[in-house]
Amino acid sequence: MIAYIVRRLFSTVVVMAVVAFVVFSLLYLTPGDPAAIIAGDIATDQDIQRIHMRLGLDDPFLVRFGRWVGSLAHGDLGTSIFTNLPVAQLIGQRVEPTLSLTLCTLVVSILVAVPLGVVAAAKAGTWLDRAVMSFSVFGFSMPVFVFAYILILTFAVQLDWLPVQGYTNFRDGVWEWLRHLILPSIALGTVYVALITRMTRASMLDVLAQDYIRTAEAKGLAPQQVLIGHALKNAAIPVMTIIGVGIALLISGAIVTETVFALPGIGRLTVDAILRRDYPIIQGVILIFSAVYVLVNLLVDLSYVLFDPRIRY
């Protein structure tokens, strides 16, 4: 077990090193001289030269990479070109809406998708199964922002039940906070629900064909007990895996969803940074999101022990 965790941690470090290298290369390849940007419009060549010296911009690629990784280790993600504030601070200010949106979506999606998948598998071949599967194909094909606008037009503009856009802090009232998150979470969650439902159904169908399920039914257990206690528990590992991998969809989707619903989160920060060509922010965001993705999947891998006691790493 310990050996496995160490090995798994090591491979995580390698992956993060590759991510850091890719992100740094992007920074290195960005057009324009950062020294000239920092120095401003009235700087002389000597000023720019001095900043080059101070920041070590003339050092070899690997030396600069090493120094950059060193500053990352100190929590320094660089400085925004546009606002001149530390990127870590800018991202920190925007964490709440993004975290609220993704966590809400994650929880609701799992609560909807897993039962849907179980029911579809239990009733395989019926109209219910076909309806669930058709929904999942549509979920995959409908881009987040298209569905988001359909929701806005229906529930905010036409029916006026929910706000069109905007965000309220959790501190300023849970109900208002939740009201502003309902439509964004539904829009963002649809693809994710489609993905998890498909995997739950497939995994359940595999397990339901096993001998021990027949045994469980034969000894007179209630169908629900067989489905939940025996089948779902054994079908959980692929479902957990897809929940972890699907985090990437949530992250990509959050950027778009925040744009559509004007949520002041990290996605919105990224989009503004693209329009202003504020590269350090873009790189910081990629680094953070990739780290989250890698860590979540590490935790998912380790959680397999909970579902299958036979796994002894």
Binding site: V14, V15, M16, A17, V18, V19, F21, V22, V23, L26, L29, T30, P31, A124, V137, F138, F140, S141, M142, P143, V144, F145, V146, Y149, I150, I152, L153, V157, V164, R198, R201, A202, L205, D206, A248, L249, I251, S252, I255, V256, T259, V260, T270, V271, I274, L275, R277, Y279, I282, Q283, V285, I286, F289, S290, Y293, V294
Partner: protein, 302 residues
């Protein structure tokens, strides 16, 4: 539609004359299409969309960039089938021309990433040394959510369709490499490959004659999914202002321009959105049909 029927009819007419003309894979594709009418529907919609993109100038469109401030924000009518936008441009023409961008990007990314992925996957699957390094790089690239990676690459260069294609290809390719590599790793252990090696067949010949034919079909399925996902990514990039330049109408940037007008001119968002969703749905239906054809066992499950 007619073409599908032709392909289906030809071997049936002369099954004995050309027994080797159709591989089992293709026969399975044909059967699956017969069993899955939705796959045929997908193919039909896709062909129609491609036709619309090619013949855009002759479909009652006007110059999609022609600005006429006097006719701003007209709702859909006989003169402007899908209304006009805030610069008085004809939305119908823009949506029809927008099909060109989506399909070009989707098909180009699918072709490029399968070709690149196939090449890299074949090499890494057969060379242990290269494999370790390349797969770590691919793992790293796959840990960056693909839309984010494409955004980062687009931020480096100026907005153009070519750059959009390159950026999305680089973001999609690692998954294709993984697929090809895993197929190669299992195929190289097959007895018939061992036999070929024992008979003294050279490596390039083994790859081309014995490995490649078994990869083509799954790669084709993967290619359709890449195509659908690339079209969505292109629309996302254009929608957030990091994709197709504003002087070329694409479904993503038409919607981006309508963003602030959602409450007064929702048609600016609804029509391109429907076109995008229907096209991606068509591609996915086609992909599902082909996947079921390849793996009948999977067909029941997924």
């Amino acid at each position: 539609m007619a073409r599908t029927a032709d392909i289906g009819a030809a071997p049936a007419a002369a099954p004995a004359a050309a027994p080797r003309s159709m591989s089992p894979t293709w026969r399975r594709f044909r059967e699956a299409f017969r069993r899955h009418p939705t796959a045929i529907l997908g193919a039909a919609i896709l062909i129609a969309m491609i036709a619309i993109a090619i013949f855009a100038p002759w479909l009652g469109t006007v110059d999609p960039q022609a600005v006429s401030p006097a006719k701003r924000l007209r709702p859909p009518s006989g003169a402007f089938w899908l209304g006009t936008d805030m610069l008085g441009r004809d939305v119908y023409s823009r949506v029809v021309f927008g099909a060109r961008v989506s399909l070009t990007v989707g098909l180009a990314v699918a072709a490029l990433s399968t070709l690149l992925g196939l090449t890299i996957g074949l090499v890494t699957g057969y060379m242990r040394r290269v494999d370790a390094v390349v797969m770590r790089v691919m793992d790293g690239l796959m840990s960056i959510p693909s839309v984010l990676l494409a955004i980062a690459l687009m931020a480096l260069t100026k907005a153009s369709i070519g750059n959009v294609i390159v950026a999305i290809t680089l973001a999609e390719m690692p998954r294709v490499v993984r697929l090809v590599r895993s197929l190669v790793l299992s195929l190289r252990e097959q007895t018939y490959v061992e036999a070929a090696i024992a008979a003294g067949t050279t490596l390039p010949r083994i790859l081309v004659r014995h490995i490649l034919p078994n990869i083509v079909a799954p790669l084709l399925v993967q290619g359709t999914y890449v195509c659908g996902s690339a079209m969505i990514t292109e629309a996302i990039l254009s929608f957030i202002g990091a994709g197709t330049p504003p002087n070329i109408p694409s479904w993503g940037n038409i919607m981006a321009e309508g963003r602030s007008l959602i409450q007064i001119a929702s048609y600016l968002i609804v029509f391109p959105g429907i076109c995008l969703s229907v096209t991606v749905l068509a591609v996915n239906l086609l992909g599902d049909g082909m996947r079921d054809a390849l793996d009948p066992r999977l067909a029941r499950r997924m």
